[in-house]
Symmetry: C2
Subunit: 364 residues, 2 copies
């Protein structure tokens, strides 16, 4: 590894791993040291492959590098597509010593990571996230999985990568809509744990939206540092880690309602965070001004602030009841005790939840 | 739990768990203490359900017990059948606090265990094995998974159960062919690690084949004790645990060749152990007398001592090359340094391997 990057560590004992963040890392770093055998399998998708696959292959000199190119999109985050990774591994006779590489966004990362968790009962893998959302969120922390027709991420594993390589240059090819989706998760870190970062984001949101490299690098570093800290404290989501789900229970309902892939995950989370903020205000935890402040930042990030127009309170309730954040029938939600301090609670009143839906849903 | 049983422990730190072995345990023991939530999902198959499902349900008083009944057979150890378990869990809105129960043989145990490993990224489960093979082997040790068209158990996870409940009475309903298949794995423990047990088996093989309850209970106890010891020393098969695969590399080739389910796993392992013994003799590790001794015991257990009649050396080589015991192209095999002492080696000469195939294959 050269020295033109910043490095973080996710501290998980023998499962600890580094996160490298820098401009132009992909293709200029030798990653062979992470491969214990002779084989590497790069998993990517048809959008990312033409842009970055050759550079990724060049990162493993002296190794036999095979590739699986998946179709692009959340709707392919299913068993059938996952199985095409196993097909590729078995057709090319990859052994337990192989290394998988996830080159792409969150869907590629979740699927390649889950394939690594399951192939021959577990092989190592590296995350090379190429979208803002995956760089600041899904590539760090070891959550992997696929969707089920009855719910998102219902089938999966905790499987930590050997390393995360974040090349900030890859964001320059990212569609604006996906930049916004990633910024939703960036804003989340400020809301749940870092009021100072939220202030920094309010100062630099325009720079971020216009892809200013230095602003992006700083936002990614601070986001990953926050996530790494939370994951180190609670790897398997026994408690604290659940605050990372701010806006996600509402958001998953939106994604499922809209059909996977029609709303981007970050877009749904952005609106979901506004609904969580509204409920927090109704519960008397944050002020109306706090809500307005969050709403402004979400809009400046280019994110929607309302669920799909036809979606009703009943739609939300039906879809949220099966969400896996539930434990024995209690609807657990992440709310804001104050801006910069999240809490997981099953205590929100049904009346305030109904009022939240009433304020966000145009239809009844 | 009452006191009419023997108990063993698999020592794996915070993942340690008990194995209960006794006559008539199923339906007479309260297993609710293993359930942290309110929900239980029993996974079984259409053969086992009429015999034992009601008794299994009665083991969880005060809990909401749902069931998924799978079709019976190794050929259903695939994604589609696995997914029916996820369907059942999601349709009945099981949360992360659910407990899965595997009630049946090795296929049910592997699939229910893998479903538990993956559902919402991991929930607890209990093994209630009802076949001899699953009681002495697959229910202990945490290996779970499904087959892929290109290889057995290629997709799976290490996921330890909370407990294993072995009711020896369930063997009285087991077809003779499946008893024999289980005895193959029983014999294996004697061969790889316990010469004294092998002598005991030679004395009691007739009693075992005729389902003598005391002989069965003793054989199961000693087999589980041996497996528990090996698993405790090497949970994830970094080294020692691989000796449990004696005969399995040859055996998997036979199973794949014959088509899943046409040869029982234990039958293929029985013949595979004879091939491993032959190779061990050719390598000068054990004597011809040792081979004959093992062959006699395999035949007395009612097991085949030859692979399928049309299977050639080339069939074996092609199928063994992709077996997951391989690391970077080297064919690793479990051989017998002496009777009661197995070793994993990649050193067997290709000539002796060819000679082994020549002696066991009728076709060329």
């Amino acid at each position: 590894m050269s020295n033109r990057y910043r490095e973080l560590s996710v501290e998980l004992g023998e499962r600890s791993y580094p996160i490298f963040i820098g401009e132009g890392l992909l293709g200029t770093q030798d990653l062979s040291a992470f491969v214990s055998g002779a084989q590497v399998m790069i998993v990517t998708n048809e959008t990312v492959a033409p842009l970055y696959l050759e550079r990724a292959k060049a990162s493993f000199p002296g190794k036999r590098v095979d590739t699986v190119v998946l179709p692009d999109g959340e709707r392919f985050k299913d068993w059938q597509t996952l199985n095409s990774i196993f097909d590729g591994l078995l057709e090319h006779r990859h052994t337990r010593k192989t290394l998988l590489v996830a080159l792409g966004g969150g869907v590629v990362g979740d699927m390649a990571g889950f394939a690594a968790a399951c192939y021959q009962r577990g092989v190592p893998f590296i995350q090379i996230p190429t979208t803002l959302l995956s760089q600041v969120d899904s590539s760090v922390g070891g959550k992997t999985g696929i969707n089920h027709p009855l719910g998102k991420n219902m089938v999966g594993a905790f499987h930590q990568p050997q390393a995360v390589l974040i090349d900030t240059a890859s964001l320059q090819t990212l569609p604006a809509r996906e930049v916004s989706a990633g910024l939703a998760e960036v804003i989340k870190y400020g809301l749940i744990r870092d009021q100072g970062f939220l202030g920094w984001l309010e100062e630099h949101m325009d720079a971020l939206v216009s892809l200013d490299p230095e602003a992006l690098a700083e936002a990614i570093f601070r986001s990953c540092a926050c996530k790494a800290e939370i994951v180190a404290l609670d790897e398997r989501e026994g408690g604290l880690r659940a605050i990372l789900n701010l806006g996600h229970t509402f958001g998953h309902a939106i994604e499922t309602y809209a059909g996977y892939g029609n709303w981007l995950h970050g877009e749904a989370v952005g609106t979901g965070m506004l609904m969580a903020a509204e409920l927090s205000a109704l519960e008397g935890m944050i002020s109306r001004d706090d809500c307005d402040r969050i709403n402004r930042l979400i809009l400046r990030a280019g994110l929607p602030d309302k669920p799909p127009v036809a979606m009703t309170a009943d739609d939300f309730m039906g879809l949220m009841a099966v969400d896996k954040k539930n434990v024995d029938g209690l609807l657990r939600l992440v709310l804001l005790r104050s801006v910069g301090d999240a809490v997981v609670t099953a205590e929100a009143s049904p009346e305030n939840l109904a009022l939240t839906f009433a304020r966000f849903c145009s239809s009844t």
